[in-house]
Symmetry: C4
Subunit: 209 residues, 4 copies
């Protein structure tokens, strides 16, 4: 049962389903977050300011890899440039998910000075493509948050180049970017990383150790 | 894709959808909370003692800006006067949401003596209209809770006048009032503030920092 | 809009809806919990060992106030005697809800030696019938858990007699019993008490105070 | 109302319903977890890498008690051998559930050096078959996690033989295996154990006690 490569229409459907599921879990409150898929040089991406709880395929904008509008009537998000950077630096990436969760906000704030969140020893690390053992340390890089998006895009590019194995990048007290070779893989990375952030968060913010 | 101004019927529908969603999240337990929209001098508001999990447009009462009944058969909530104060002091407000959540109860209790909950440095602050950067401090004013509603309405009026930029007001160990120029904007403020209360609550009530 | 007194069929429907909602919230895991309504001397009650996630009216047993079976084919729960004690001691009670939640388990364990959980200063206390102010202290009595149900029924009777104003009773590390003059009132008490247990639990189990 | 023994088709349906419910609760993130039922020498089991949120009967593989494929086109999970060990050592077991939750991950990490999680004094222990009182101590054995599945299967066999009364086994920082004589019983054990892990987790990771 080798699955066929999904069509771009199927991927767009999956992206919208994933976005709505993220909203239901409280991971993209207050119209935050953004989501995209790529086919060749075309990117289909959520516009700014849209409630993700009711996202439908017709809401997406089509842009090119330089972020120029191809189709759709919404306004691109300021964070569109972060998507195009990821697609250029991760040539196999076909889908990008960006979410704001309680635990990624807390951990990216706590670890910003050390530059990454370390995750080690958990079976769920195997939810990340290429990781075959719990005995692996995933360093999730953290970029200091800023409203200067050109600067942010440059930092993200540098971080992606110096962390070839990273499956996601955090913006401090802001959120997570993760990606995959399909929407399904990107979602698997998202679910694995957010599970691990919550486990580590509850452990580190408790009285125990 | 500039959205048209929604009709009052659409806004009432959205208000009921929002109230039911709040119930599902545990934000208006035990028939608590109340919700309203305004069109001109008419306010459509939830009556007292109603389960918000099944709220429908026909349940709403119509009142005027002085709180006098225009239509509908339920009994106005004692907190109706707080809605009319907000509509008079915030002339652009068209919708008001009032919820009781675990984290707004905890934080409004913890900070009542300092008079506000400070929120700083989070990207989600941009979910509040007019806030363009995470590098912003939102002070959410806290009013001491009381059952003297005339007194409470006066305090609320004073707090709204002396905190022109506030996007919401807390009653101590009671709940949050927030508003917007549409139900969608009020809901965005609600989701942003409650996310930030939970993040700050988990950080402050933990062993860390 | 004075609501008519609901029929027993409507109350049974509401009871099943409430039980399924409690299951969805994780409040009656592993077939735990039980629920009943009364009409005159007849009690309709959940049988033992039933998954509450799919509870339907036909699942209920009819018993009398002494706990003798009148109709239905399931086996009465060992806790049926606690329901009959409550109906005898609280003559206006028409519905009883018994749930096992994370926070009622934690608080009933923490406070068992002092004999009650104190709840004070919260607006949500007004979700309890007859409570008109947040400036009220609700003492929720705690009975030491035991598998001797005759003994437990006796303790419960004594506690109900010496705590005339109580809206619920906890069994230590076991769960909450609450009741009302209708299913809707019992559910309001349940939602108010569980909200307050979670708030107090998070406050008391944290590093803060 | 003695329930008839469910058919294998009904059990497979129940297994898929249970798996989807586990996904909805966040207990099998990122395609983790696996689930099986047995009829005689045939085991129907989830293949590797499948999202459990949409699991359907046609997705299951049929294998024998030695783990050899009988039917179905997916690839067996590396953990299939753990299922066959449980079915051989617990001859009455007809269903096995394996989940990764926040609290079983935290507790299996905290207690791995002592070899088990102790659970004592909770009414919910009666959700475990054969346990008739809260005054019972359940020791949930913990096996050190490893990617050597032959070794893991051997350890599991030894732990099952030296803990005849255990209702579940934890793999450290990995997850829980539990089972039952039907899917319903296995699910009851799962819900009871996970409730108790969360209660104990919140108690032990807090500032209290």
């Amino acid at each position: 049962m080798v699955p066929e490569t999904p069509s771009i229409e199927q991927e767009i459907d999956q992206l919208c389903t994933t976005a709505r599921a993220c909203y239901a879990r409280g991971w993209v409150p207050a119209t935050s977050g953004n989501f995209s898929v790529r086919e060749g040089n075309r990117i289909f991406i959520t516009p700014t300011g849209l409630d993700k709880g009711t996202l439908a395929p017709a809401d997406l904008l089509a842009i090119d890899l330089e972020g120029r509008a191809l189709a759709g009537s919404g306004r691109p998000s300021a964070e569109t440039s972060l998507h195009t950077v990821i697609y250029r630096e991760r040539v196999h990436a076909k889908a990008i998910l960006h979410v704001h969760t309680i635990w990624n906000t807390l951990l990216s704030g706590k670890f910003v000075s050390t530059g990454h969140v370390p995750l080690h020893g958990y079976e769920l690390l195997k939810g990340l493509s290429g990781v075959a053992s719990h005995d692996h340390t995933e360093h999730v890089p953290i970029i200091e948050n800023t409203q200067e998006y050109a600067e942010l895009a440059e930092h993200l590019r540098d971080v992606l180049r110096s962390n070839r194995d990273a499956h996601g990048v955090l913006l401090s007290r802001h959120g997570l970017y993760t990606w995959g070779e399909s929407v399904a893989e990107a979602r698997r990375h998202l679910e694995a990383l957010e599970f691990l952030f919550e486990v580590e968060g509850r452990r580190l913010f408790s009285h125990q150790d």
